[in-house]
Amino acid sequence: MKKKNKIQEISNIENVEEQNIEIESSSSENANNEIVRENEVVEVEKEKQDDKIEIKENKKTKKQKQNVESDKSQKPKERILSIDRFRGLCMFAMVCSFVFGIFSAFGFFAPIIEHGEGGFQVLPGVSFADLFAAMFIFVIGLTMVKSFKSREQKFGTRRAYFQLATRFLALIGVGILFNGFENGWAQIFTGESTWADLSIKIQIFGVMFWIAVALLIVYAVSLFVKNEKFKRIAEAMFRYFLAIAGIMALYFILVSTGEKITPPVDGERFGGWEWDTLQNIGLAGLLALPFVKYDKWGRLTIVGITFVVMSVLMQNGLFPLANSILEGGIFGGFSWACILLLGTIFAELKDHKFYWILSALLLLISVVLIVGFDFIAAKRGCTPVYAIFCASISSMIWGGLNFLNNWKPKFDFFAIWGSNAILTYILTIFFVGMILGGVFGETLSAVNIGVAIVITILILALFTVMNWLLKRKNKYIRI
């Protein structure tokens, strides 16, 4: 109301002033007929008045702009449905592949859930299941620049970089701590190994896993305590602890990569070769982060250069090394970062005529190189041609989903699945992958198809309900 009144006041004042000016100018016209010198004086006066009007108008437009901006900021941010849906599609496919993989009764699904040569080959070396991890990274790219810019607006550039870097390190941390559980505690619980059998790296991450669980419990408790300071500290401790684990994971993988290239003379190795999808996502984010402030063409240039350099290296001896580790480790990280950056580029090209051209161009380049020139395409190792092929497929799917943005059903299945992707992902890895697949794997593998279907529907329903409730309450779990 106050703002409205002020605007009204300003416009009233201006109206009065405009009228004054009109009177003055008409009087000056009369004077013009009498004395020329007077006329000049009046003209100077008139110019002064004009200047005044301009200043006032500038002030007015500024204020109006401020009002519009404040109105805009007051409006709730509308989520782009196609991003949620695409993310949901990826998550749903991933959970299905995890669940189907548990039961032998679902053996007929093998071609669509198996990676590498065992799966249905979309292109030589690329199976159908190989597409989804890349798609998920592409989706992260769709929101990365926006996320960076909003943080930059709130906290400044340096802090925005720091926050995103911490977030990606924390993702690596989550991944490596899961490895600490899977390769450490799960082995001990099933009696396959003893504590002493574990490598020092697994022991470290095994211990850190329980510390992280404890910090997570504290963080969860803080959400129900009406103490903002406690909540902030608990959240920060959890996040930074994960980030530290991420830094350690990066250190070990770097050392291990160095040891692979130049094996130590005495044979003793210090590096750790534990690497998985979450680490991979985190590394891709870290490698892409320095370019987040570039414009889209700058980022495209970076992708082009990386593509050429990595292709040359992969075709000339690097691939066996990259292929020896899941998702290519550090080397694969560059191509994953390309997918992420391409996601950021496509996000900005959403309504641009170049969107589909770039999409088709990437498809053409990748297909020509893979089919025509036998370039190595593989998810394991993440070769550059695989990366741009997946990015083009992802862009086409997202482009297609963009056409459905105006269709808003009440129960938007994939949008619901995509609303809390990280939580779904972590829970899938932990409960479906490690607990159901690992601890109860043998039992579940033997069940008949009827039971398998029931359990599968139950798991999918649980995830759907969880995501639906969180979305309904506008709760989005982020690291």
Binding site: W356, A360, V371
Partner: protein, 427 residues
């Protein structure tokens, strides 16, 4: 010869609504990139073919080679030479619908359809005539002309009479009397040859189907393929873009199923470009080209994007449908050709704005493809037959290069002369 631009010119014109004028007056504006692209195709067809005679020129002599052993392989099963004919078809597709509309406006739908039917059959007929010339030349070295050859011979004489009369009709006092009958004699003779060719090539295919080693008439090469493609595409010339796409897709799918079943691919490969059956593949290609052309006149970006997709999907399908094979007009060949031709055209289109000078040899080449084609066939053909071995296969690289340059300059000069005097031979 015709002083008017007539349909060959019409085919190259594109209506562009006059933005400057507020009324409905429309001006016709040539899109130079289309002319250049057509000229590029004709230039490649003729000059590369000529350079093929000089092995000492290295890779230049391999440019026109379709064999995977000697040609320049660009994709699995595809050489650089394989893209030229589809690119020429793409150039036809770019202007086909517009040219047809123009004819329809001037002379009505019925006459436009008859004209284009005649035109397509005449192109097949012209190809038949050129094949006959080769067979007549072969007869001097032992080949015995069969009954069909003699029949074609007779029709060829009628067509030549028609052509002579057309030339005579350029004399102003004879124009009124001679023009129409000369044109009809020429067209009908060539069209009859075209119809007969379609029949005997179909018989050829049936014979191959029943007995692989059976006798064949062998009257099918590139021009016949182009003419038959126009026949297949004709029903879609007035359709909306999506109908064109759907029609082409249906023909493509039907042809793909046929191509992939049993030994059909091998049988299709026996006759050049798959013969009449392969012609349906070429027809699908032309309709896809027309679809891209429709997009081009509405939104260049969409047309370029479609070309990229066609090419990518074609290469993508290689893993399931087999290598690209021009000989059988394989499905992958159709898609890749459509896409690749589109991409090459858009390179020309993108460079169009940088071309400021009047020196535009490719435009000259593109204005008279039929005359240039006939010139190459007869003049260069006679030259390569008459010249001693030492001037051709045995020639040193510099001698070969000189001959190549002379051929390029001479043919370009002829193309320039024809373009300057606005003379063209239309079918």
């Amino acid at each position: 010869m015709d002083k008017d631009l007539k349909e060959e010119e019409i085919a190259k014109t594109v209506e562009v609504s006059a933005k400057e004028s507020n009324d409905n007056n429309a001006t016709t504006k040539r899109i130079k990139s289309i002319d250049r692209f057509r000229g590029f195709c004709v230039f490649c067809m003729l000059i590369f073919q000529f350079l093929k005679n000089f092995p000492s020129l290295g890779f230049l002599s391999r440019l026109a080679d379709h064999s995977l052993e000697n040609g320049i392989v660009i994709l699995p099963g595809m050489t650089l030479a394989d893209i030229i004919a589809p690119a020429f078809i793409f150039a036809i597709g770019l202007t086909f619908a517009l040219s047809f509309s123009k004819w329809q406006r001037l002379y009505g739908l019925k006459r436009a359809i008859i004209h284009y039917l005649e035109r397509a059959l005449a192109i097949i007929g012209l190809g038949t005539f050129l094949d006959l010339c080769n067979k007549v030349l072969d007869s001097f070295s032992g080949y015995t002309l069969n009954a069909f050859d003699w029949t074609i011979f007779a029709f060829s004489i009628i067509a030549i009479i028609g052509l002579v009369l057309r030339i005579l009709a350029t004399i102003p006092s004879w124009k009124k009397k001679l023009s129409l009958p000369a044109e009809q004699i020429f067209y009908i003779a060539l069209s009859c040859m075209g119809i007969m060719n379609i029949i005997i090539t179909t018989i050829d295919f049936v014979n191959i189907f029943n007995d692989f080693g059976a006798f064949r008439f062998d009257y099918w090469v590139t021009l016949q393929g182009i003419g038959f493609a126009i026949l297949v595409a004709l029903p879609f010339v007035k359709s909306k873009s999506w109908v064109k796409f759907l029609g082409a897709a249906l023909i493509f799918v039907a042809f793909t199923i046929f191509h992939q079943i049993g030994n059909n691919k091998e049988w299709l490969d026996v006759i050049v470009h798959g013969g009449v059956v392969g012609g349906f593949g070429w027809g699908a290609m032309l309709i896809f080209d027309m679809f891209i052309a429709d997009l081009y006149f509405k939104n260049k970006a969409n047309a370029f994007m479609s070309s990229l997709f066609f090419c990518a999907i074609g290469i993508f399908l290689i893993q399931w449908l087999g290598n690209i094979n021009m000989g059988s007009c394989s499905p992958t060949f159709i898609l890749v050709s459509v896409g690749l031709s589109g991409i090459i055209f858009f390179v020309f289109d993108a460079l169009d704005k940088y071309h400021k000078t009047k020196f535009d040899p490719l435009v000259w080449w593109g204005k008279n493809p039929i005359i240039m084609f006939l010139l190459e066939f007869f003049v260069i053909g006679v030259y390569t037959t008459v010249m001693p071995e030492g001037m051709l296969a045995g020639a040193s690289w510099y001698l070969a290069l000189i001959q190549g340059i002379v051929a390029i300059v001479a043919l370009t000069a002829i193309a320039y002369g024809l373009s300057k005097s606005k003379k063209s031979l239309s079918l």
